[in-house]
């Protein structure tokens, strides 16, 4: 079994018109046993920047704590929030530092940059950035997510349609993956508000 299949996860982010959506499943398991159905994989770094981490849950939590620490230091020094592109470079550097003994997680970063332009990117576990203009996926359900997003994605969707698309893509992909599921957690962020929604999915 691969190390990424120890806990199970599914994270996806999509770009819309001046907005972005990031979604994850809610299951935390130890191989085939489910031990939590409300695990938080997506965390807020600041109002316009979210990071979703898939992979080994202990590294997800450790890496998140390190990143929040670095961002708070940055805020104290620069007196402003970090831009999403800068944050992506920071995460990439922190992951590459551990090139020969890596953190076993894959981040998905989504944020609104200057001029409210949405930015998404994902990385492998050693920090190879992959910028995309449409969607990024990560986790055990990633292969199904690739397929679902390729089919369902349209460019320049508004927030409501984007929410519907990302939810349908997430739920249909985790239904085909034993290790992720038990509902979904979706954040849709526009320049004016953050909408957080919890989805009802199959409980198996």
């Amino acid at each position: 079994m691969s190390i990424f299949e120890y806990n199970g996860s599914a994270v996806v982010a999509m770009v819309g018109k001046n907005c972005f959506a990031i979604a994850s499943d809610r299951r935390l398991g130890v191989q085939l046993q489910t031990i939590a159905t409300d695990f938080q994989r997506i965390s807020k770094i600041h109002d316009h920047l979210f990071i979703g981490l898939s992979g080994l849950a202990t590294d997800v939590q450790t890496l998140y704590q390190r990143l929040v620490f670095r961002h708070k230091l940055y805020q104290l020094r620069e007196e402003r929030d970090m831009k999403p592109e800068t944050f992506a470079s920071l995460v990439s550097a922190i992951l590459y530092e551990k090139r020969f003994g890596p953190y076993l997680c894959q981040p998905v970063i989504a944020g609104l940059g200057d001029d409210n332009k949405p930015f998404i990117c994902t990385m492998d576990s050693i920090g190879a950035k992959e910028l995309a203009k449409d969607f990024v996926v990560s986790g055990t359900a990633s292969e199904s997510l690739y397929g679902a997003c390729e089919a369902m994605f349209k460019p320049d969707m508004e927030a409501e349609e984007l929410f519907e698309t990302i939810s349908q893509a997430l739920l249909s992909s985790v239904d085909r993956d034993c290790l992720s599921g038990w509902g979904g957690h979706v954040y849709v962020v526009t320049p004016d508000e953050i909408k957080e929604k919890i989805l009802k999915g199959r409980m198996d």
Binding site: S2, I3, A132, E164, K195, K197, L199
Partner: protein, 273 residues
């Protein structure tokens, strides 16, 4: 006080503290993760006025295409570019690092960078990690001594060649070069040949795909032709798009309105003497 308790930004280089834990997990039977590789076809050739570099744009993670349009031609200096194959994080990190070192060197010497400088910096780094930093590079550029093209292997050996190919599609591309390369090609002939070599990699090698990127470097000028050719467009998109008849069931909604950014226009009073 224990150093490991504080997350002090380190002075640089790799940190090995998670190695023991990861070894323990591997011994327990959990396979290590696969990294993002750039399966790749990368090529370079020297033509009459300089160097042309070419690359495909597919990044793979095992058998899955992770990125359909990634950038494999990395900037090193205004007159030097480098194509990278192998583990994506390694090629990006190593080219970024040497690019910064070259810039500092330019500031110190007040001269344009030479390709041989970039070559030596790269091969020293790769050799010292004995091939574990898995980056196979095609380095090309034009400096005061003329056009140069080199290949660098992950263990640190280098070759200087008039035309070169690397990556999983290198055999497909090399067959095109061996058949059609001649000295003294013009710019258009060179670009056509590079595009043909990359296309043969795209169509015949499973690790390479999507589009063709080309970079033309001549004395005093460089031209980065991103997505010069797109021989694999997506033609099956339905214009109607997806429509969902059943809406997703939402259990809970929480809306956080974001504070409006307040502009401070009043200038503070000047200090009294």
């Amino acid at each position: 006080m224990s150093q490991s308790a504080v997350d002090v930004p380190p002075k640089g280089g790799f940190s090995f503290d998670l190695c023991k834990r990861n070894d323990m997990l591997t011994q327990k039977g959990l396979k290590a993760p696969s990294f993002l590789k750039t399966g790749t076809t990368i090529v370079g050739l020297i033509f009459k006025d300089g160097v042309i570099l070419g690359a495909d744009t597919r990044a793979t993670e095992g058998p899955i295409v992770a990125d359909k349009n990634c950038e494999k031609i990395h900037y090193m200096a205004p007159n030097i570019y480098c194509c990278g194959a192998g583990t994506a994080a390694d090629t990006e990190a190593v080219t970024d690092m040497v690019s910064s070192q070259l810039r500092l060197h330019r500031y110190q010497t007040s001269r344009d960078s030479r390709i041989i400088t970039a070559l030596t910096l790269l091969k020293k780094h790769l050799f010292s990690y004995q091939g574990h930093v898995s980056a196979a590079l095609v380095l090309g550029g034009v400096d005061i001594t003329g056009p140069h093209l080199h290949t660098i292997y992950p263990h640190g050996s280098t070759d200087t060649l008039p035309f070169a190919t690397m990556g999983s599609g290198s055999l497909a591309a090399m067959s095109v070069f061996e058949a059609k390369y001649k000295e003294g090609l013009t710019r258009d002939e060179g670009i056509k040949l590079v595009a043909e070599a990359i296309c043969s990699g795209i169509f015949n090698d499973l690790g390479s795909g999507s589009n063709v990127d080309i970079c033309v470097i001549t004395k005093g000028n460089n031209e980065y032709l991103r997505n010069y050719m797109e021989p694999n467009p997506r033609t099956y998109v339905s214009s109607k798009g997806y429509s969902f008849t059943k809406k997703t069931e939402v259990l809970l909604t929480k809306i956080t309105p974001l504070l409006e950014r307040v502009e401070i226009t009043e200038v503070g009073e000047a200090m009294e003497e």
